[in-house]
Symmetry: D3
Subunit: 234 residues, 6 copies
């Protein structure tokens, strides 16, 4: 986007839908470091959100926290909002409350994956290790299940992902290779925004989509395209 002198740089609000912790500073640094020239970032966590978003019940609480915050900031001049969680909590609610672009990390990552390969696998985090070739409810609701190859959980809780990054990366690489060899994936989607900084250290012969960065670029793109959603659509 060409800088236009008269206007102040567009501000993007990044919502970490988790309660404040030392992780938020990590998020803030990541987004500020990665923002394209000409965009400004404000990063917030939410006091009424859960500590992490791993289960559907966390998701419901996080979604309400996002909805409440978005309704407060409607008139503060942000040009886009990023919900910095793969499960996209509150995405529909936020889009209902404002016509500026609202971007979910999960939806953004999957959309990027559609152009980076033919079939994507999601590498999921959380305490349970599992594998599944049928689409999740999130993937079904996006209407793109035909491009889904599998989801594979590495069995590491969100809050432990960055404690031993080498181990985390190793587990991701292992599952991603199985996804490619056995599930037919040719692009990997990381299933958690807490992997934002680890993402660059993952070495694979496949594109690896970083959801936090995907959301940031999508927000910048939507601002630059000038798209505004229709309000209150079904």
């Amino acid at each position: 986007m060409q800088n236009q002198k008269r206007e102040p740089p567009p501000r993007i609000l990044v919502l970490d839908p988790v309660r404040p912790s030392s992780l938020n500073q990590v998020s803030e640094e990541f987004f500020k470091a990665k923002a394209s020239l000409g965009f400004e970032i404000e990063c917030e966590s939410l006091a009424d959100a859960p500590a992490s978003v791993e289960f559907p019940s966390d998701e419901a609480l996080a979604a309400a926290a996002v909805a409440r915050r978005v309704s407060q900031v409607v008139h503060q001049g942000f040009r886009a909002i990023v919900i910095n969680c793969f499960l996209d909590p509150g995405l529909d609610a936020a889009r209902d409350l404002t016509r500026i672009p609202v971007v979910g990390a999960g939806e953004s990552a999957v959309r990027i994956a559609l152009t980076a390969g033919q079939r994507f696998s999601i590498i999921d985090v959380g305490p349970i290790k599992y594998a599944c070739r049928s689409p999740t409810r999130q993937v079904l609701s996006m209407g793109i299940a035909a491009r889904f190859a599998s989801i594979r959980g590495i069995g590491v809780p969100v809050l432990e992902l960055n404690r031993r990054p080498g181990v985390t990366i190793k587990k991701i690489v292992r599952e991603a290779k199985i996804a490619a060899a056995e599930d037919g994936a040719d692009v990997i989607v990381l299933g958690c925004t807490a992997l934002a900084r680890l993402a660059e250290r993952i070495r694979l012969n496949l594109p690896v989509v970083n959801p936090a960065l995907s959301a940031l670029r999508t927000a910048e793109t939507l601002i630059s395209l000038g798209l505004r959603r229709r309000a209150r659509s079904s």
Copy 2:
């Protein structure tokens, strides 16, 4: 289900995911009047929920209110929970928090419709009158879009549905007839639990599915089948 003398009758918790108002008594009366012999009903509204659930932002707040309440009642001996709203706010969250059956009015109604006809249309409420033959996100996420014919909004806000019931019924009948004639529907799903009592007065040459009653019967069925969900599934 045969009465078994030793056990107390199973109790079903009906959650109206809206804040307390005169409507809750209506709900309570409806569910108590319609419950099958041998089941007991407790009906609650939720102080931290919105006044009505018409838009995605209402849905997010309602979902969190449901999640909070379900986490409180986990050990109170209920045998099933009904979320008495067509949009199923908090359904996934509640199922994540308890292994007893949790039933959403929308999901129940659609499931009943699958056996009552080949293609269903939803008659939606809310301020906007509209028609759409592509599946909604709720329908997509259920994975049954192939059976969906259309959704048609009658343009009456939830809180006005029961003010002039004759008008409401007339509008529902009109849209339902168009759904049958032009969209190919052979079963009609009412898209709001506030229509529970009006439902019986709708006369059509098509089956009309009442979501509140569908949810009640589904809860009773699941109790009687003894099904318990796997906890914490993705």
Copy 3:
């Protein structure tokens, strides 16, 4: 459903679409024992049906037998009909002949599974042991293939299922565990009504749907909802 004194209890006709044998008494006892208070059961086998329904050719003969019987009982005051076979032989035909609810055991079980989990696997019976992750024609025709995880055959013919129940249960449990671990299923559907009594003895960390019981509860629900199909719909 509240008992209404003036009306006689609603009668449900259970059709075993197989020729008379000692198994029918088993069916009759099962349905009578499990019927909810206020419902009466009549159970019949059909002299012109095959000995068991394992293959598509059995299914065609069973379907015609069902159709003939339904056309005879149309005016006998039944309030619902259950076709007590997972393959739902004659379901469409029966629905074409009467406007009272007609319930198939397979369709009912799958519908129940949609609310008991996100992805179902069917444990099939019959002489051939097999596994398949693509939807069967029955599943395709229901329009719910997106929720299907797999079908796994245990390789035991229908008429031998109850000879050595311990062995049958062991094989079911083994396949169900594979379905959960490798196919992503979080709910199991038993693929044969001859498993009705064995079903309760199956112990799994997943809900297990019993098709005979599902059909009975669905029939009761549809009677209680007062739904009548549109006649002669395509």
Copy 4:
């Protein structure tokens, strides 16, 4: 297929799944006139089948009649069987009973339509005039719903189709034009084998697929390809 001197010409059994009437001779003449060089036709109606196949209950009876007849002819040296009815009654059953190709008129016509255009509409017959853009159960079960545009009923019962052929053709042309203009169809599938002879007189700027002729050519093709189904597959 090159004639091979040593072998007798392959015989195709055409089953009209209706009870004997003057219409059968019409069928027989049609198939004999249209058979490719080197193929022989035997045409039968079935005494235990219904008079016409318009409703699902007719279909069940017709299917059983087909199944019984196929089981009798298994060893009579036919090389393929055609079920001459658009609804494909008994198709799965027949395929279960023999490994020679069994061809349904409906399935054949739809398959041909997939190569003759991008989106097909079915012009249906029977007493009810209707239009529907959601796939029928038959189309769903074929797994090709993405290519389906609509089904439109002309409101003429099967047994009256050939009484006033000019009127029938006019109604077909009218619905086909609406299917092209409003439903996006670029190929028309006639929905009844009783239209076999009328088909050639239909003039449209779209390909029109004749199900009887499609079935005959498909049978010849499958014989010539030497394909034999796997027996007793699910």
Copy 5:
């Protein structure tokens, strides 16, 4: 099709979308030997096409070569055109340029497979050995993904397939058996027209669809049905 004395036999143009080589004579002999009585074959390779069609870039060049050739032959009286490559290069383009039937080997084979079984697996060729249970872009674009079981690559480049036919057949048989046992396939589609002559030597307990022969029979059928596509449809 009955021979009609007055008309010359219909000519089918077979386009090998590869540059001239010794393989073309093999193609020509195959099609001439297999053509049904009453049809004439002309077989051409294309000087501006690639040496083989294994990758998407080959496909683009082959498609343009097909389009150029079809536009030249539009008035030469052919009654159908066969594109003799499984990837169907130029199929849409050719159909856009002429209203006579244009038949792709891949599309024809898949269509035949839909009638020969319930779920098909494609045995692919090319240098890479792989397995994938998600539909390819070609399968997705046909709109029949619900019937797809898997694609399995044997890891033999096209130009080496016929060097050691025994080895090629052995690899095909091995993958086909895995497709049946693990992917649920009950019909096998050979994924390359260069396998035309090998196809008959493959012995399996499953039908095996030969794409070159499928295309030939489909062309003959479409000629005989007199179907002409609508020109310039989207």
Copy 6:
């Protein structure tokens, strides 16, 4: 993306897959004006491409021209390639030839639409005015048909779109409004890159996605994400 001093700015190659004409300068000006800071644009037309890409035969020729050009520029240090045509000619081929991101205008626009609304309609150009609610082959092949509402052609050939821009815009607005009111669309995708400059002048109560600009932003995003496709994937 933060400028990194050591590296030259990433260059994006924009291929207009049409033969050189005065329109190319328009394209070049558009892309250069819209490129984000830090990216450089090179814009080319292709001498061996057709004059415009309206029909599938144009598409085949354009695809081959793209493939040839991409194979020539593989080592010229471009960081991404944009194929500036809604039909994405040569997209798969180009991706096969290089591991740098290759972006099609149609695919990019549809992906953007997935985040800008729930259901998209495409406003198509070309000589024929039409409307269709079934997915096109392009939409099917993307695997996102569940999100497609309709395609509506305005009946203006590509080369005339910019002659009377007011008329073109009026026709687009009219069809877009019908798409919203009757087809359920809540986001509009312009179906031709020749509308790039007109796009900003379209005033609607719906987001309108400009495919040329979508492709540019997608290319910039993919460069910035550092994604490289796996080579030679199926």
